[in-house]
Symmetry: C2
Subunit: 471 residues, 2 copies
């Protein structure tokens, strides 16, 4: 393009673009100036020639030029015309097609036969009901869907959750104690803001490493207390100097331990023994306990307001529907409304109202019953596959009555690392219990996680026959 | 209920409950034990008499009793029968109907004629399109909706956002730079985790107080730099010792100032002058600029990777649809994927795919154009109402070319507090600019916010005639 010369610019402007023509033209010129296609000092075409070339009025061109002058991209020289300014020598080229080199996180390479995967089963989501309820929600609620919602979530959803907890868990909860949020991970962050990042948060060892990541990422101090056969050890809590303890007493992951009533009372006593001690009760898959004893939640036997109860619909409904909730004891609920009510609820009101209908219309209970039946049958089949496998005498199933996984002990002289390597070579994915321990050497040997939420009996049969060859 | 005596318990068990009968019975008994209706020491009915009374098999009753024994609620005495245990004297009464006294946050009492309300207008959301796209999404995507999504959001949505930014804002963005989250408030929290809570975050004064609340609640230090007519003062940033500056250069709230190109380059120079300095560019209502100049975003002229761009669909679509996004420069995107990719995306995949369709199908652009036309017309009418009002000679409109609000200066000898009180007494809500200042005395006198996103010309006419009476 001849510097200072005269030339024709060709842009495609469209009356269907929605923006006025002069604005479109302005955008094209600005883009070319920023990208360097029109270097500084370039003389722009006259208004008349450009308007003729583009088939627009010269007022359109004039408006565009004037705006670019206002913005500093173009200068006008009397009697000479319009020139691209040099903007005091600044580097104007934007990172056009940005030389971006982004390394995405590695997704765990899935083995063809993954025995420890925790992906929830597809094909079990009630799509047609959900689609129907969503349409109904949009039709019935209409503009009410656009109104600001309470920071804790829309009332019908919180009432439906309270009713569900009453009938399903025997819990007595005021809807105002319930705070709805986009996933438990988000709620953990809120809790740290509510309780303070200067408290000592104590977690179960073994346990989900992600919980520790979230606390640490939010600036809180994490410590760990060991598990015994009844759940987290109260002596361990004392030793750790814990202020807040985060547990999943209904069904601990990965051990599958259900905390008995006696330990629950011990924990409540621990919490009551010093002001500000708090128990976060993560009840994430209580709905899927199949044969275990539905022991009352800590929340329901807490008389001192020390327990925060959390649960999620991501486990029971679909992991991609991000709706979780927490139940705050009254004093903390009041603190929440005083300190954190400036936060807008993170769940779209469309989905909140839809889920409220799903709950109060009885669909959720039906869905849970169907899933429990499905999982119970699957579990029976998987256990039979194990019992019938060629290496059955070397296999012991631990914690059978847990939710969506159990532990498998393999009697072998092979070190675990070698066993897993040999399995991996044959396309079988299996995770040792040590993965969830702070110090892997604390984990029991030869103990592995079988997650059956997305495992078929045929896959397990194939995997076990490969295991037999190795053993 | 006679302690130690014999009596009949009556519960309604139902085969349609979904749970086995023994489990239902167990729940009823446990509930009565916990609530104190069955005090410790109470002898329970014999298996035979209870099974007869309830019309269930005695095996059902036996299973329920055995479970309660396992749980420790009941003990069995040979030849004597079953008794409610006293659980080592512990207080068992749950907070039944919890004596909850929760003080909800006060919602700002809305005046009948609220001139400064910022509620987005209802009745403008494309309900039928959205309902249609949601059904289409559920039908077409099916089980794909249940698959785990990338931590930054589903690919089609991030591609659609990148394409929208390219055509609408002339921005060149790699979809992997985009992180989708449930509202900008949530993303601010993520940013603090990414950048560190030990940095000095600098905000605009005046500005949204909520932004400061969020930073403070996440443990970050906030400072403020004053605005001049070109936006935040770079000297003010230096004086504050800022590491990170959070600004809305396209259209500052509440002043309506659009930062000119020259100040943008000054800011970029400030950011480049020391390692780790970062600009958070909050472009929250760039789509609604009606007559202003679409100056390029800081992100698009940033060559050093200092700018994080943020925007939201909550302003353009519906405040109750919680979908926002941020664009990280490549180095920060990599840090995000390394450090924070354990977080699950907080937006339901149903809404993500639905919004992707809304964007790529051209519905969003149509919606924006309709809204811009609507607001432009409304703005013209409101300005005419002001010009025609009985007190027109005392009124000056400032920053007319801004998005969804403008400032109104009222020439009066009344102190603002008195003026506002008199207006309030007549049912007119109006907010002075000082509300958004760190030190109210720094605000210009007699300057008020008129937010026209949900204001009708008739309301304004009525309010101005009441104002005339006062003046």
């Amino acid at each position: 393009m001849p510097k200072g010369g005269c030339f024709l610019l060709t842009y495609t402007l469209s009356s269907e673009d929605g923006r006025p023509l002069y604005e479109q033209l302005c955008g094209c010129l600005r883009g070319d100036i920023l990208s360097g296609r029109l270097p500084s000092g370039t003389r722009l075409p006259s208004k008349r020639s450009l308007s003729g070339n583009l088939g627009v009025s010269s007022i359109t061109v004039e408006s565009a030029y004037n705006r670019l002058i206002d913005e500093g991209y173009v200068r006008s020289e009397p009697k000479r015309g319009y020139f691209v300014s040099d903007l005091s020598g600044r580097e104007l080229h934007p990172a056009s097609a940005p030389a971006v080199s982004i390394r995405l996180p590695e997704s765990a390479a899935d083995s063809p036969l993954n025995l420890s995967g925790t992906r929830p089963p597809a094909a079990r989501f009630p799509f047609s009901v959900w689609a129907h309820l969503m349409r109904e929600t949009i039709n019935d609620k209409g503009e009410a869907l656009l109104l600001p919602t309470p920071c804790g979530g829309v009332r019908p959803l919180r009432e439906a959750i309270a009713a569900h907890l009453r009938s399903f868990r025997g819990m007595s909860v005021d809807p105002d104690q319930i705070i709805v949020g986009a996933g438990t991970e988000y709620l953990y962050g809120l809790l740290i803001q509510l309780l303070g990042s200067n408290r000592v948060y104590c977690l179960e060892d073994p346990g989900y490493p992600k919980i520790a990541q979230i606390y640490a990422s939010n600036g809180a101090v994490c410590r760990w207390a060991p598990m015994d056969e009844a759940g987290i050890s109260v002596a361990g809590l004392e030793a750790a100097g814990a202020d807040v303890v985060h547990i999943s007493p209904t069904h601990h992951f990965p051990t599958g331990i259900t905390m008995p009533v006696s330990r629950r009372y011990e924990l409540l006593s621990w919490a009551s023994a010093a002001p500000g001690r708090t128990i976060i009760e993560d009840d994430y898959d209580s709905e899927f306990r199949l044969t275990g004893r539905p022991i009352p939640s800590l929340q329901s036997i807490d008389t001192d307001g020390c327990v925060i109860y959390m649960n999620t619909f991501s486990k029971t409904l679909a992991s991609t529907i991000r709706i979780s909730y927490m139940i705050l004891p009254p004093a903390l609920a009041n603190r929440y409304y005083e300190q954190l009510s400036f936060y807008t609820c993170t769940v779209s009101s469309f989905e909140q109202y839809c889920l409220a209908r799903f709950l109060s219309g009885g669909w959720f209970e039906k869905h849970l019953n169907r899933m429990r039946l499905y999982y119970a049958r699957l579990r029976r089949e998987l256990l039979r596959v194990i019992a019938d496998s060629p290496c059955a005498d070397r296999l012991t199933v631990l914690e059978r009555d847990s939710g969506l996984h159990f532990l498998l002990q393999i009697r072998t002289d092979l070190p675990d690392a070698l066993l897993l390597q040999k399995l991996r070579d044959r396309g079988v994915g299996l995770l040792p219990l040590s993965v969830w321990y702070r110090r892997p050497q604390d984990a029991p040997d030869h103990t592995f996680l079988i997650s059956y939420s997305s495992l078929s009996p045929d896959d397990l049969r194939r995997a076990l026959s490969l295991l037999s060859e190795i053993l």
